[in-house]
């Protein structure tokens, strides 16, 4: 079952078409990871799934209804989205920014509730930013800032969560922490998650459903162990590699083949 679907989705900026006739069904209660080379249209697709970009053709459906026809606030109670490069207002504090994730659940006369309090506290603790609550977002490191944004998206408490490269800027332990967090949200709370990731091995490890894109098209999709092969990596990224089972999880592990300079003898 898929609450969120793209049907013959065509996406364009001005008159430059980036994604053409894309069909995609996001499986409910699963972690879907989108991979692909730079500029292949991953962010563009994610933005369209989260109604940030109006389709030039086709439609995105949420529970069978066209996204473009739903009130944006209602969508915001179902779909949370973290853009690739969000910008915080100058001088905003961490707690203030995270609590803005509650926006879709609030009204002019209901600016704060116990529910808001709980969701914000919870989101900040899960992302390990509670200790930064009073700090200004401007004055954080890239990784801390990234976790604050993730906290904001979590505070929104939506069934569907779309995250665009949530692990950039993070050190390896925080990368794993964020991905584990995403997986826990998915396993324990049944959240549907869509991630854009660049690290193929992380993608293969955390995805239930992997979508490989190239030049605005889906090249392959399915469980990582079925689709991640040396051919796919060559086809999508133009990289020769060896795919072996991950020693820890058994998921496919992509090891780039032919190290630098190995294919041709050193000229003297």
């Amino acid at each position: 079952m898929s609450r969120l679907q793209a049907r013959e989705l065509t996406l364009a900026y001005e008159d430059r078409t980036v994604v053409e006739e894309l069909d995609l069904a996001i499986p409910d209660g699963r972690v879907t990871v989108i991979v692909g080379p730079n500029a292949c249209g991953k962010s563009t697709t994610l933005r369209a799934l989260g109604r940030l970009l109006r389709p030039a053709g086709g439609a995105v459906l949420l529970d069978g209804e066209e996204l473009a026809k739903l009130p944006t606030k209602r969508i915001a109670r179902s779909i949370g989205l973290l853009p690739q490069t969000p910008v915080a207002p100058e001088a905003i504090t961490v707690a203030d920014l995270v609590s803005r994730g509650r926006q879709p659940h609030q009204a002019w006369w209901k600016q704060w509730s116990e529910e808001d309090e709980r969701a914000v506290t919870d989101a900040m603790e899960r992302t390990d930013v509670a200790a930064l609550a009073d700090r200004s977002v401007d004055a954080l490191s890239g990784g801390q800032r990234q976790r604050v944004w993730i906290a904001m998206a979590l505070a929104q408490e939506t069934d569907l969560l779309l995250l665009d490269e949530p692990t950039t800027y993070l050190d390896i332990s925080h990368q794993v922490e964020v991905l584990d967090l995403v997986r826990r949200l998915n396993r324990l709370r049944g959240r549907t998650v869509v991630l854009v990731l660049h690290d193929l091995n992380q993608a293969a490890r955390y995805a239930d459903h992997l979508v490989a894109m190239k030049a605005g098209r889906v090249v392959a999709e399915g469980p990582p162990e079925e689709i991640v092969t040396a051919e796919l990596v060559r086809d999508v990224f133009g990289l020769s590699s060896v795919v072996v089972p991950d020693p820890v999880t058994g998921s496919p592990l992509v090891v780039p083949g032919a190290p630098w300079g190995a294919e041709e003898p050193v000229r003297s």
């Binding site: 933005r47 989260g50 109604r51 940030l52 944006t72 606030k73 209602r74 969508i75 915001a76 109670r77 779909i79 949370g80 989205l81 973290l82 853009p83 969000p86 910008v87 915080a88 207002p89 100058e90 001088a91 905003i92 504090t93 707690a95 203030d96 920014l97 995270v98 609590s99 803005r100 994730g101 926006q103 879709p104 002019w108 006369w109 209901k110 600016q111 704060w112 509730s113 808001d116 309090e117 914000v120 506290t121 609550a133 009073d134 929104q156």
Partner: protein
């Protein structure tokens, strides 16, 4: 009504019936301080003049006791004080809203063409013989709104891009300014002089009748301003994030700009474009409250303090010659504007 401590640091929660409202504590304190300052400035405004009246006497007159100075205080100074208050508050709010939407501390009604629009139409009307201060406000309101609509239409391309909005505003402001110059040189000498004084921003000769449009506008727009104070929060995030949080950006921005433009146009209509108040007040207020968005109430109070104090100084500094209030605000505002630009260069022009 109870208050509880909650998460967003520095905020208090006020519950009233089923509603719950977040109050930024520091902003509340700053607003209190500004109110006291404003009250003091108002008393001083009523005391000082050609004929000095003691503060105690002023307070007694305000409470309705008869006094020989009652005429000077109530008939001469009070109406003009009310104009100063209303115009300052209106510019403070308008500047805050326009800066929020433009995401730029340099944007304000007198920079993006609203004041010039009001000015061009007003000066044109003056050259055609319309000189009544009770009619002119309506003419200039129309001009301001027209100019803003023009800026909005040109800046709109499937969405409102903040930088384009400011740049087009500046362009239109320049075009309109040359139109003003044209009308002034075409008109006869007396008209040009009156227009010149109006263009600097002056409260001279403004009484109850002249201030009626601005008083009514402030009153009628109060609900909209209350809405705006909250809506501002959401548009201060970037477009994608705000939309993802369920904000109807296009509509909210249009609403905020509309409120700002109406307030700025009406204030300009009443007092002329009192330069820099709309630019200064929101930034000063925000530096005091240290909030992530411009605090509208504090911005309104700051604007009122600036105009009241500037007009007080303008009346007395070189008496018996009176300086238009706009001259004083410009004298303070211009250096501040330069400082803002220099400073924003230093941090990499972040907007």
């Amino acid at each position: 009504m109870t208050t509880v401590n909650v998460r967003p640091a520095g905020h208090g929660l006020v519950r009233a019936g089923r509603g719950s409202f977040l109050v930024h504590r520091r902003s509340a304190l700053v607003a209190g301080g500004l109110l006291l300052l404003l009250a003091a400035a108002c008393v001083a405004y009523l005391c000082v003049g050609e004929k000095s009246v003691a503060p105690g006497e002023v307070l007694r007159i305000l409470l309705g006791e008869p006094s020989p100075s009652a005429f000077v205080v109530e008939e001469l100074r009070e109406p003009r004080l009310v104009v100063a208050l209303a115009v300052g508050a209106a510019f403070g709010i308008a500047g805050g809203l326009i800066q929020t939407v433009a995401r730029n501390p340099l944007a304000s009604p007198d920079i993006i063409g609203i004041s010039q629009g009001a000015g061009a139409v007003t000066v044109a009307a003056m050259t055609f013989g319309l000189t009544s201060y009770t009619v002119l406000p309506y003419v200039s309101i129309a001009g301001g709104i027209l100019a803003a609509a023009l800026v909005y239409a040109f800046a709109w391309r499937g969405g409102l891009h903040a930088t384009r909005f400011v740049l087009i505003g500046i362009g239109i402001a320049i075009a309109l300014r040359s139109l003003i110059t044209l009308f002034m040189t075409k008109g006869d000498y007396l008209v040009a002089q009156q227009a010149q004084i109006w263009m600097t921003g002056s409260l001279n000769g403004r009484g109850w009748d002249e201030s009626a449009p601005i008083r009514w506008t402030l009153l009628l727009l109060l609900p909209a301003v209350l809405w705006a104070a909250r809506a501002q929060r959401t548009v201060s995030l970037d477009d994608d994030t705000a939309t993802a949080l369920g904000v109807r950006l296009g509509a909210v921005r249009l609403g905020l700009v509309a409120v700002g433009v109406v307030l700025a146009s009406v204030a300009t209509g009443v007092a002329g474009p009192v330069d820099f108040v709309a630019l200064l007040a929101p930034q000063i207020a925000r530096r005091m409250t240290r909030t992530a968005q411009i605090p509208l109430l504090c911005s309104a109070l700051t604007g009122a303090v600036i105009v009241v104090v500037a007009d007080l100084l303008g009346r007395r500094l070189f008496s018996p010659v009176e300086l238009p209030v706009g001259v004083l605000t410009a004298a303070v505002g211009a250096p501040y504007l330069i400082w803002l630009i220099v400073r924003s260069r230093a941090v990499g022009g972040k907007t």
